[in-house]
Symmetry: C2
Subunit: 242 residues, 2 copies
């Protein structure tokens, strides 16, 4: 590990896809929901994909300035209602409380198998925190359920900006009272890392080749010479010498 | 424990005085500083008290709206320069880096002896987080050094409002996506608890009779019928059934 990596004082993590397997987690809770509404033939994974597909466009409304900052739980809830019609489910016939409950499936996502042990090792060396577009209570609930020992919950709601806008990274660096090169983003997504690098942050790529299921084609490989490329969080901890 | 307390889903904590012993911690680092600048005869505790005395007036500039929100580390640094003349130390003769280093004494405060074990027990029942006027990296550094297992760092910098304004409590409740009565403030200060109660939060008083040294006269006793009154954090955990 080079001197540049020795200078790193905080590791900040993308969460959806990098830390947790959102697709399996959402599918697990969507399955019973679909069955209850006469759609037991629909693939719950396809439902998860449809829900996630509205994620970027919803945040783009905020990033563009067309909409004031609003937390991801609210965007997820709006997106859920929006996709019901795609699956021929009549929104008017689904109790509000049932939609609220399904929306909390995002709070119950499981981490990839290497995450808990890897984070515990990394935490012994440096500050670890999510830098996710997910809001604070969403991150708290995932972490408490899974046993992720974050030192803080950072991310979009703290800095009121969604990745990949520069503000999301630079305000996080400012909150940490560090230089950009003292902060390293860990992500499974080349685009997230590219945006962080433009802001001067260090970058660590951990591929998650099953994030989008068996047919995944993107983010299988590093697309730039990221500062670290690791197989998983255990390998990442080893790269940081812990 | 009554039903009201069973409904509590998050415990949020005042930190300076309630969780950490700021006076001893600041005095410990002020002593060598004073000696280096020819003021070895000055009581480091008196220096700590003088520094702390400027805490509320500095935040009042922000609370009143006369000044935009700015993190506590900056206010502490300004206050440090301001008190040097009270102790006949020429600011111009003290290297900036030395003042920066002394300012970080606030990041190295020790918790009261009952805190680490008490928080670990409470964390098994509920979300625990600081709701302090201290900024995020200040809270991270204290927690990491002392081994406080917060589930998140909440507080003034997250909600951009200083206690005891209602916004500091109500926006924190909003971030948690809870009702005010589901959140309980733990504090050693009756004034903090009174402000939280006005916002509908639950309240737990833990006296810290040595926060201000041996001659302390205020906050020795509960001044209202707080929902919980506990001797220390161990007793608080017992009150919450963990």
């Amino acid at each position: 590990m080079g001197q540049a990596m020795n200078d790193i004082r905080a590791l900040v993590f993308d969460v959806f896809g990098t830390v947790v397997d959102w697709r399996s987690g959402i599918a697990r809770e969507a399955g019973p929901f679909l069955a209850r509404h006469g759609k037991g033939d629909v693939s719950p994974e396809r439902f998860a994909d449809a829900w996630r597909l509205r994620y970027q466009p919803a945040m783009e409304e905020v990033r563009s300035g067309r909409r004031a900052f609003i937390r991801l739980d609210v965007l997820h809830r709006e997106n859920l209602e929006a996709i019901l019609k795609d699956f021929d489910i009549d929104v008017a016939k689904v109790p509000c409380a049932e939609l609220d409950a399904l929306n909390l499936a995002w709070h119950r996502l499981d981490p990839w198998p290497d995450v808990v042990a890897g984070l515990a090792r990394l935490k012994s060396r440096t500050i670890i925190a999510p830098l996710s577009n997910g809001n604070i209570i969403l991150m708290i609930d995932i972490a408490k359920r899974a046993g992720l020992g974050w030192d803080a919950i950072l991310g979009a709601e703290v800095v009121r900006a969604y990745k990949p806008t520069p503000e999301a990274y630079l305000r996080t660096v400012d909150v940490l009272a560090m230089q950009p090169a003292e902060v390293c983003l860990v992500a499974a997504h080349n685009g997230d890392l590219a945006a962080a690098r433009k802001c001067g942050l260090r970058t660590a790529f951990v591929p998650r080749p099953k994030e989008h299921g068996p047919g995944q084609t993107e983010d299988l490989r590093p697309e730039q010479d990221w500062d670290v490329v690791a197989r998983d969080f255990g390998d990442l901890a080893t790269a940081f010498g812990v």
